[in-house]
Subunit: 447 residues, 2 copies
């Protein structure tokens, strides 16, 4: 009778995902050994030990995880996805020479809906294969990006760029950026995967009126707002000169700081500014590899974390990185700040995986949907294979993910309950076709 | 008649290796498009365009390189290969706690010939798959390591460790280290792949008498000498206290500085010490990832390069990295120093690949054998696949190798004319057996 009762209470689910190690990134961040996640439709039904899960759930498909680890999909909180087509176009140059003589001219010449649509496909391909399930984009032509991402099945935040000056083919005036942004919001607000967002560029390209207007738009529709902030010493000096304030203090003075805001970089901050970011619950997209490659500097991440700032990770665009791997950012962030702060205990494995998952989700206002493995959240998760020389032996799984794991270890990626990468191959993107298209663009761009 | 003449002058070789891009790391570092390398026995016969090579050479086997790049095998100039078994055993800890409470006790308990032999197999597996063809090791039981490496076919420098105090099971007295080192030299001197080396540990574990004796041994047999130098501020302070000199100046005063010496780390240097390293032609093994992870600091690499110091790259042991990837070190070194020096032009793609190849060979006294692709040198080279999303598009091949390439892109690895990795799989190491052995050790070490 007890047996029958058990059978009767078994719930049918679509998948049970089993693994030697399950990291939910919830609670005390305990490692669940021989763990399992039950998934139905787009949702996580339950997570726990395989013993617990298999007693209560029967699945159509069990993904069996010998020598595997399951963790939440990685979140890239700052990129310019379409710039992947400019990867390596101009490296090892001073920032302004890079921007003015290479990147801006290339963008001015090539950027349009087709470019963005094709380039975003390559970016999604690269990110999915590296375990990234959500990214926040800061660019233009976001309707085209959104359509492509919807087709692929990737989760994302579509930041519609706003700058003070016109951009041929996209915005004839500052006004047009807002028209485009509002249309984007109307098109995508409430979408299951994609969140529209207002994305004023930076203090040096966007004046206070446009920042305030962007913020009002974000407030009106309750959508996120995303910007670059305090990236370089040059920017801080310019801000001081124009407004008599450092960047975060200037933002505070014009009412920009809120939990809707996520700010990329935040390299040059005073202690007071760190306090402000914590107090106003602003999400920070720490882009360590871009900050190093462009010689911007080292953001005070250990200090920010200590002050309670929600610090997440971003790759920035591939033109200044040069890849879109959050695993790479994790390894860099976990190591660099030890040397900068002369303290080997800062940013341990657990911390950096939190930054790459739950902190990222919270920074983008998606904490209720993704970023951890928890009943009721969307099923965005990664299965990585541990059966490799560079992951052998295993004493601490968090440490392995932080310091040793590579995109090639990512085996299966699920977004919103759908498998988008299986045995390392994308299911909704034709890899060779995407690469062939990119090479056609390359031939044109190189000229 | 002209045609017959051509046929008659065709030289028979074992391999012609063809690739879209050939980087010889010789001369002006020009990229040879549609390049080829002719290999016979252990040697490179010629390198040039495929057109030139195929006119003069006929091969038993042509390795065809559509979407491929060929470059010299990478050189890891400082590691403790057997410590791969302690990968991730204790992370994110202060240096002395890490060493005294975790690493030294583990070494004291487990290290013996069997341990070293098995662990070196895992290290070689990881390094070969990541394109490393030569490494310089600093450890103990180097006869066991050498036998294993000889069996695998890997090139290396076997540094026999020397410290002032006894080490149970290896050396009952300081004297024993020298006996072991001299035996090692006698065993391996003149070997095709393996170079014996004397490896006094560091200023804080090895007094001036033992340093001088190690140097005399190196001089007597004309073998390299390898040590840790100026790794931490603590070491510099101790050296000042004991000898009234900074580490490199102290080395100069006891006659240690010569072209036979390669020194790992060199993080804390005065301008005068940089001059000395350049003047005495000392090779420097820059270990940026280990230096960051242990919070040692940032070596003044751009300054060293400018002063003419021969700076190469090393991973250090996997316990402080946590992998053995020179590609990873290249990406880290190329990025970190831009931020440290606030100059995005330092250490470009060509420079960092030079550091990982020809500089490494020269640092280890192997510049006549390896480090570049040149007629007469040994055939140590790598074929990497470029047909991946993260390597698309391609504008600058050096930049791609520096910033984007991953171990999983390494397809074929040749050492001394023998293919040791083919389609990403090792030919002389059974990967699953090596991993299984490592897991048995892991179970014992974890206890």
């Amino acid at each position: 009778m007890t047996k029958n009762l058990k059978i009767n209470t078994m719930k049918k689910v679509d998948y049970i995902i089993r693994a030697d190690f399950l990291l939910t990134m919830e609670g005390g961040l305990e490692v669940i050994k021989d763990g399992a996640v039950a998934v139905s439709g787009s949702e996580i039904i339950e997570a726990g030990t395989f013993g617990e899960i298999s007693k209560q759930h029967a699945a159509d498909r069990i993904l069996n995880g010998k020598d595997k680890v399951v963790f939440p999909g990685l979140i890239n909180t700052h990129t310019h996805a379409a710039m992947v087509y400019f990867r390596g176009l101009a490296d090892d140059l001073p920032l302004m020479e890079w921007l003015q003589n290479h990147i801006w001219p290339a963008e001015g010449k090539w950027m349009n809906e087709d470019f963005v649509s094709d380039a975003v496909e390559l970016a999604c391909l690269e990110m999915l294969k590296a375990g990234v399930t959500t990214y926040c984009d800061h660019y233009f032509f976001q309707n085209a990006a959104g359509k492509k991402m919807e087709h692929i099945g990737m989760r994302g935040v579509l930041g519609a760029g706003v700058i003070d000056f016109p951009f041929t083919g996209y915005a004839a005036s500052a006004e047009d950026y807002f028209v485009n942004a509002e249309n984007l919001i109307k098109n995508w607000k409430g979408h299951e995967l994609l969140t529209p967002c207002v994305a004023p560029h930076a203090i040096y390209t966007c004046g206070p009126d446009n920042y305030k207007r962007a913020n009002a738009l974000s407030d009106k529709y309750n959508v996120p707002i995303h910007t670059h902030l305090a990236e370089t010493e040059f920017e801080v000096a310019e801000c001081q000169k124009r407004f008599g304030k450092t960047p975060v203090e200037y933002f505070e003075s014009i009412g920009m700081l809120s939990e809707r805001l996520s700010a990329a970089h935040c390299v040059w901050l005073t202690d007071n500014e760190i306090e402000l970011l914590a107090k106003r619950n602003v999400g920070v997209a720490h882009c360590i590899e871009s900050n190093m490659k462009l010689a911007s500097g080292f953001a005070p991440v250990p200090k920010m974390l200590k002050a309670g700032v929600n610090v997440a990770l971003g790759t920035d665009g591939a033109a200044s990185n040069n890849d879109l791997s959050i695993l790479g950012e994790m390894a860099s962030a976990a190591k660099v700040h030890k040397a900068v702060s002369k303290d080997p205990t800062v940013i341990d494995g657990k911390t950096v995986l939190s930054m790459a998952t739950i902190n990222g989700a919270n920074a983008l206002g998606l904490g209720d949907k993704t970023g951890s493995i928890k009943a009721g959240k969307k099923a965005d998760l990664v299965i990585a294979d541990l059966n490799s020389p560079h992951l052998t032996p295993i004493y601490d799984i968090y440490s392995h993910i932080a310091y040793c794991m590579r995109p090639s270890d990512i085996e299966t990626v699920m977004v919103n309950g759908k498998i988008l990468v299986e045995n390392g191959r994308t299911t909704t993107i034709d890899e060779s076709d995407t690469i062939a298209k990119a090479r056609e663009w390359q031939a044109k761009i190189r000229g």
